[in-house]
Symmetry: C2
Subunit: 600 residues, 2 copies
Amino acid sequence: MADYKAPLRDIRFVRDEIFDFNTLYTKINGGEDATPDMVDAILDEIGRFAEQEIAPTNVTGDREGCKLGEDGVIAPSGFKEVYQKFVEGGWPSLSADPEFGGQGLPVSLGMTVSEIVGQANWSWGMYPGLSHGAKHLLEAHGSTEQKDTFLPRMVSGEWTGTMCLTEPHCGSDLGLLRTKAEANADGSYSITGTKIFISAGDHDMADNIIHLVLARVPGSPAGTKGISIFVVPKNNLDDSGNVAERNAVSCGALEHKMGIHGNATCVMNFDGAKGFLIGEQNKGLSYMFTMMNSARIGTAFQGLAHSELAIQHATEYARDRLQMRSLSGKKNPDGPADPIIVHPDVRRMLLTIKSLTEGMRMMGYHMAYNADIVSDGKDEEERKVADDLLSILTPIGKAFMTEVGCEAASLGVQVFGGHGYTAEWPAEQNMRDCRISTIYEGTTGIQGLDLLGRKVLGSGGELLKPLTKEIYVFAKENLENETIGGYSVKLQELTKEWGELTMHIGMLAMENPEEVGAASVDYLMYAGYVCMAYYWAQMAKTAAEKLAAGTSETAFYEAKLHTAKFYFARILPRTITLAATMKAPLDTLMDMAEEQFVIS
Amino acid sequence: MADYKAPLRDIRFVRDEIFDFNTLYTKINGGEDATPDMVDAILDEIGRFAEQEIAPTNVTGDREGCKLGEDGVIAPSGFKEVYQKFVEGGWPSLSADPEFGGQGLPVSLGMTVSEIVGQANWSWGMYPGLSHGAKHLLEAHGSTEQKDTFLPRMVSGEWTGTMCLTEPHCGSDLGLLRTKAEANADGSYSITGTKIFISAGDHDMADNIIHLVLARVPGSPAGTKGISIFVVPKNNLDDSGNVAERNAVSCGALEHKMGIHGNATCVMNFDGAKGFLIGEQNKGLSYMFTMMNSARIGTAFQGLAHSELAIQHATEYARDRLQMRSLSGKKNPDGPADPIIVHPDVRRMLLTIKSLTEGMRMMGYHMAYNADIVSDGKDEEERKVADDLLSILTPIGKAFMTEVGCEAASLGVQVFGGHGYTAEWPAEQNMRDCRISTIYEGTTGIQGLDLLGRKVLGSGGELLKPLTKEIYVFAKENLENETIGGYSVKLQELTKEWGELTMHIGMLAMENPEEVGAASVDYLMYAGYVCMAYYWAQMAKTAAEKLAAGTSETAFYEAKLHTAKFYFARILPRTITLAATMKAPLDTLMDMAEEQFVIS
């Protein structure tokens, strides 16, 4: 099986031909350095690095896993060496603030780098990936001293960072957390407690690990209002800010899990570890959300990652594997059988993966585009609109992309038949690695509540408008378009129906708030499929224009047209069922008594 | 987490209160021994055996896996001991022919035993399970001498059996197989070749393993018409039929795979192994299909098995795990949070698993009921109708039950949140174990072609009629029923639509046979959901009658009514999308050139 190939052509299509990031970069703060030539060179170089350096560690990292030694966690062979090269290449600092040694390139360019890195080896990519969230939080809420102390070496990648949120008895419900932070005389705090599921919580790839830890100062209010956040380095620092003796924080155990074996999922013990309060006491949860949103966008890209791998692997196999003859006559008459790609059902699976993959890429860059404006836009009104849009796209992207990513990864196994179930081929690892994505950084259920409850209904529908308006305007402008006129009619119908569904659930929710939870996941998935229809209409429009203008890349653009047609005919109709089930009466969920679920 | 609990109450509901197997047993050959008391005792005993003896090997078998030693494969600890007890208990011979030492009890009773055994540990259950197919084939097509030689000890369980079909270059397409069988002077054959994916292909649990091997006699026609089948024992037999020296057959390697680690998936090398032709030369493939149908029904029960485990695990977790408050007010005011089962979306997941599980059980016993009639019915016309029904239900059961079983197992992970991804809880193994079920014994795609192409359209729609008629008649008779009148209206609409869809695709297929492959999987899944609606209507009807008549089991029957309501409102609408996508134009699949699927 051929190795990972960075999908640079499709990334450039989305970046350059659809969203036109190069023009965006001329308009945002700090965008001037991201010239088209520079961007091109960065894409080529990260593609090469991912293919040649990172990807070879993907299978070996899965097989070998992480080990807990006397001095902490040892990452799989090669992880540390590749990470050193990654740091030497300056990749961690790409879109970081120049004040702390960053290169100040746009956020969206960092996301492209992350997309490619994550596809090459998701488990590896999480080590630098999780640092980003920690850096953002420190940047936004840390004191000047804290920033000066920690950020330069986190930005360079010399040190990595983690987010320590979950405890054994609380995941989604952080209000229950118990880790305590007691004030010391010197202004620092002693942190005591146990955190679980800490990704990249410990490893031997960097000289220090900067943990951001949610904890309670004794006497704080109960629940979510009494949570503060602390920076707790693995190794204490001396007066010059260099690594000194170990802090009282250690990995107590590694989780054994279905996949992402190359990433250390740690139980972290804080035994009176020395930490420093970030910002104000009891504001930990709101600070955390500044990090959480970017972590959710990052996880959305995981759905894309495994879907991209699935289409690369499955297509190659389906073209090679000879099995049975086409029902409409031999397609490979000189061979003993036809390649399985001739069979309609194999094509159905491949096109499902393909249409979801490329649709997800559009959704990812739709978020990235707005993230650029939010972060560096020059116009406040524009920033506000982008922020609203991003706040709606984030839960959709996180949950929808990971859900359909898991579907794609599972179909990727199916195309291989029995071989797909064995470790000899990459499909089974890909499916195992993907399965966590619908869970961490907020489950699909949590994203559904965030989207429908907190944001759409919580704003009286206002927050939804920029997105549905964008789709509606695009559709209206393209009703007469030869290629996508039909798609545009469909998009208008769907945006109308989307509004009606929102209204319908909103009315019910005024009577009973449980209606929100009952409809939320179906609502979110519905939103995802409608957005993806919008993306496919955009891609088809551009592809038709390129073909009409004349191009040497006929196959590439024709594939876009075929895939759009497939998506509208065979995937988008899922909205019909979702529109029905999200309106199903609440009592179909709530009438059953708890003890009736299992009677054996 | 509590251990596996055999779902005897629900099995008895389906067996006794819906299908009434006890009455059936009074009418079929050999059914007289299966008195209600006897059946009850068997259910209790296999439940106890599965819970106490088999289930404890499930997790340890996954962790330990199989090992390939000098003398062959060593099954995980405990597997052999439990198997010995299973044999001592007489379980392998339950529904086997008394002529060879079997107890001659009905086929359906053997399926109940298999259902429970498979839920306790699917990997373990495959060792005795695969013997059944080999026994059936020998019974149906072996010579008297072959039967006398092999069957008594296979029936007792002293020896196990395998089916050796797949080769590295051929799975679905057996016409390509290369293993050769050269005639010896003494009437035996020398078998040479490599078989892969041989489940239970080698192990240390029994004294001998009887392989049934597909191979070609030199000079036979190419393709599927030149395949013969041979019986090849692992150990040769002496003149008295006892185990003598090793035959030239050995396990060359074990597959490393996503799940079912406790079952040995073997590469089997035949190096001039001594074998004996079964029946006539070149009829191997048709003989194999007598075994394949029962293997497919067996695999259908795998979907049920993992779904049953998912609902048992997930319900217990959802009732214990405290996380967040109900949106409609505290449900557990004295605790720090409410159990997650109060949240509508958690209920949506649990009810999805529950409705699929119990619906699958109905489908399983619908097959079992007809299998009894086919095997032991006294009336030829009845046998013919049952055979037609079973021939349609088998591909639906195999593919639909395993597809929704995988969905259920994955939702089982999701209910646990991050914990579900770790090996500390049983959900992740359950999902890994389930994933093979949509692949082996004919993939979902193969079942789709078998159902729609070979059977439904191949018979001009005739083979479908017994099933749709059964559903239609039930619906018509219950249009006025207070509980299921509405469901019956829906069932009538669906059987009508099903017919129209069949006609629609049939017409298109006359123009282009590829239309069959394009629609087949959506068609099969549509059929599955309609059948399941029929089953839920039946269950609701019976539950309402029991409640009206007065019962001490109010909770059990009320749960059936609630779950039926859930199914019709939130699962059945999936048919709407499927009806749309199966009619999508063929060109949405076929227009794309092979080289356009991946352009990176």
